[in-house]
Symmetry: C2
Subunit: 315 residues, 2 copies
């Protein structure tokens, strides 16, 4: 197989390749694909990578200024008190943590993210920068080779992901849509200006319907392929298949306890009564089974399959 | 001259080429250039092209439904009463006109723009789609060939320009930032969704400091080249030269009554007391004199100069 080598032969890989073949008849300016990030392009367990970054930055700050540990949101995080975190709410804590960077320029913030990413190690023991899923990177590269514009629509912070999206996925900052902080423009020396982060979140957190409205507002085009893994991606996936013509919605099912995770409570990802596969079937989406469809999971791993299926479904 | 053939040899063209040479030492991900649109990439006189489109759409709507002419904003436009328009204010009228498209999908709106553009004729007698400045298109192409990411940051409607930015300038929709309408996501048939325009403008009109904060929020990178022609572009231009390293701010001076316009009241573009050239000199910007620096103005025109300067300042 010369394309998608980390995808095992089978109905999922075939569905992707059939979509790509059909998309060749779509005008190139309509070949647009959007991916969710956490849990779709890279591992999101046991905690979001951005969360790990924020906690690291909070610990550093608390070393310099112990008084900030008195703020309830920060105290709960620093003492890793799960109940306090749950009672305050992750959303409020995330906003408080984002406020740690108030006053930084975008370039200073990006520098902090990149500096942390260069050496941070995930709970799994992998370098954080190696948490990307190789099959998804292959898919992105194949889409791009076929003239697709590839964007990422994440519930996480836009500027966090933009700092690393080029290195991780070859996606430039202007094709990343996420939850956004506000900026303040101040006068600088000699007629120049300085842009600084505020503590304010602009608009809604980028989840659910906001993923669609924010993607339209910022990227200006409807996708014909969308990939996600949770209820927060449902509207994005529905959008990709909403118009006539080729459309593909990919739903990644974390069912691989051996190589990544088999999500406990998977059936609750969409509704309490429905498994991921049933949701996909009902809505005409293509379920990706991590356990069944991927020969390799992580970007830096070697193939786990013997390559016995050459030619059976290559293009 | 094999590059920028529509630019006459002289200090302006030399400044552009020297910047491009210096930018080759800038990491490619920092090679970012943003252009204003109206009056910078195409003609904005005697009226904005988007205004002409809106008036055309209003007239069509008033034919179908004469009662809308009773709304004061629309009556003033339909009867072309300058004093009434001035008294209501262009901003309020623009919002009312944007409301004409409430309920359309983004694709339907783009279709209307493209349909109008295909045949619309400018007050000058040129087709509207030929109002682009050829020297600027050459500059965009040269920047792109040198690895630059080129975006447009317009005070006009984002979705209006996105419908035509690819054809006019080769700039895709996701690299256009403008004044944005809100969207509403509604459920469609069979689990799909439909995105529809609202009458609401999201955030601030994209002028002045908002050009900088919106460009950072949506495109995620600071430019090292910015081009504009009016006070609404001042912050954008200052941003491009705010950091160490190569930076170029281009200010187009409409001083060409013969081929385009010599703006009456040019001195008031920035401050009442200062000519455009003085503003540029004070802030370290490069003034482009349309009359002096451009051999050809419009994209579809033939050269007006005899090509006698071959080799004097080519690369």
């Amino acid at each position: 197989m010369d394309v998608l080598p980390s995808w095992r032969a089978g109905p999922t890989r075939t569905a992707v390749l059939e979509f790509l073949a059909a998309a060749r008849d779509v005008p190139v300016e309509q070949r647009v694909a959007y991916f969710d990030n956490d849990g779709t392009l890279w591992c999101e367990r046991p905690s979001y990578v951005q969360w790990d970054f924020l906690v690291d930055q909070l610990r550093q700050r608390a070393t310099e200024d112990p008084s900030i540990a008195q703020q309830p949101e920060f105290a709960a995080v620093l003492e890793a008190r799960r109940e306090a975190i749950a009672s305050i709410g992750l959303a409020r804590i995330a906003v408080a943590l984002a406020g740690l960077f108030t006053g930084l320029t975008p370039e200073e913030f990006a520098g902090r993210v990149r500096g942390w990413m260069a050496t941070a190690v995930h709970a799994s023991g992998r370098p954080v920068r190696s948490l990307g899923y190789r099959p998804m990177r292959e898919l992105i590269e194949l889409l791009r080779a076929d003239g697709f514009t590839v964007g990422i629509v994440t519930g996480g912070g836009a500027e966090f992901l933009r700092a690393i999206s080029g290195e991780l996925y070859g996606v430039p900052p202007d094709r990343v849509v996420g939850t956004s902080v506000g900026y303040r423009l101040t006068g600088g020396d000699r007629g120049t200006v300085v842009l600084r982060r505020t503590a304010r979140i602009v608009g809604d957190a980028n989840e659910g319907a906001a993923k669609v409205t924010n993607a339209q507002t910022q990227l200006g085009r409807r996708p014909i392929l969308a990939a996600g893994n949770s209820a927060g991606d449902a509207e994005l996936l529905r959008w990709a298949t909403a118009a006539p013509g080729p459309g593909l919605a990919l739903l990644l099912d974390h069912d691989d306890a051996e190589r990544e995770y088999a999500y406990e409570g998977r059936a609750e990802t969409f509704t309490a009564a429905e498994a991921v596969g049933d949701t996909a079937a009902r809505l005409g989406w293509t379920r990706i089974s991590m356990a069944r469809d991927w020969a390799t999971v992580f970007d830096t791993d070697t193939d786990t399959d013997t390559d016995t299926d050459t030619g059976t479904s290559g293009r």
